[in-house]
Symmetry: none
Subunit: 120 residues, 4 copies
DNA sequence: GTGGTCTAGACCACT
DNA sequence: GTGGTCTAGACCACA
């Protein structure tokens, strides 16, 4: 997991989001283990506490579970669960804001989408 | 200017964004004065320094100019300038991220847009 | 006296400096009157108090004197007096700072002066 | 960093200028950290917020970057960048004014420079 | 009246 | 430990 951090959001959140993404897209599968805090910390050159914070969030949200002495494992059903949750969040929170932003800036939606339509 | 603050971003930034919005939509016009720091502070029940911080940003970005002893005034050309700047920012930064998010979550674009199409 | 104000120094100081300059370069001569506060204020679209402040400085420095009921008049000997004073101030305060700035920025003096030498 | 404040410009600006100077002259090098806000505040007997204000300017100007939770570090390339910027500012803004001042006061340039020539 | 600066002290998020 | 934000209250320069 190679990464470049951007300054605007806390590292632990960026890391959290990355793990989420990798679970959704199948890079990390149900039942698989996450890299250990130490491994991760070494690889990403990051303070272990920061890693822990991200991992803690994943536990709090029931996405991974701790197996004592072994590490953290992706729970069964987690990928779908995440996908559904993120979709809902996007549709109910992000998208309305995006739409209002678009109309506020007087941007033409069709123009935004034309490149995509062409792909079809 | 009635307002409800949300916790996730600093007040001075929210205030800054609000002024920007009110300039874009024409509530505050070119050459007009912003409400004085003290007025604003009293009205919004906020520390004057917090207001100053927002106003300072607007000066730094050449959106507003100080007339010594009189107050802050919207510079001529500012509304268009802001609009262009925000549009560009949206198209080059926000929108690509939104698109990648949409494809990442495997969301159907037509579904997103159906409510809008119906408006037409 | 047509003028464009710049924001970085107070108007009354800019005005003061202008009068000084016009006395040095002979536009306003010994014994001549300054435009009245009111005239000046109307012409420059400036608060009369601001004009007064500049005029007061000129009185304090014995450059002009009040003739009751008539106005302010440039004292005899004022032009030379100013010239000497400003020269001294420049040589003892400004110039040393300029020199240190030049060396700090590692600027070549000859390069600065080449355009001038050519004039000769 | 020992300092004596002068009254005519705000402390945070003087501090800002000092840091700039120390970066140009190599006392603070690329990649190095600035003294922490608290350290500086204690050392200079100044309110931390005042320090922050100076540091904020340095960030806004891309001279220094924040490493979250670690402190502020001089960006690579910053020293040259600053030097170039300051030189340009001097040549395009300060120097012309100086020259006009010199001619206005009818000062002989060679006389100004004679002490320097002798150094050679 | 206007905005700008500074202090003292508190609280927060991040690493 | 780091910087960022906010408050309450004071003082100043400017018009």
């Amino acid at each position: 997991m190679t990464t470049q951090w951007h300054a605007d959001s806390p590292i632990y959140l960026q890391l959290y989001q990355q793990v989420i993404t990798r679970i959704i897209d199948g890079h990390i599968k149900e039942g698989e283990a996450l890299p250990s805090v130490r491994t991760m910390a070494a690889e990403l050159q990051i303070n272990p506490i920061t890693i822990s914070k991200a991992y803690q969030m994943l536990q709090d949200e029931q996405i991974v579970e701790k197996q004592r002495g072994k590490g953290l494992f992706v729970k069964t059903g987690a990928p779908e669960k995440i996908l559904v949750r993120e979709k809902q969040a996007f549709l109910s929170k992000d998208w309305p804001q995006i739409m209002s932003q678009i109309s506020r800036l007087n941007i033409d939606i069709d123009e935004l989408l034309s490149p995509i339509k062409e792909e079809k």
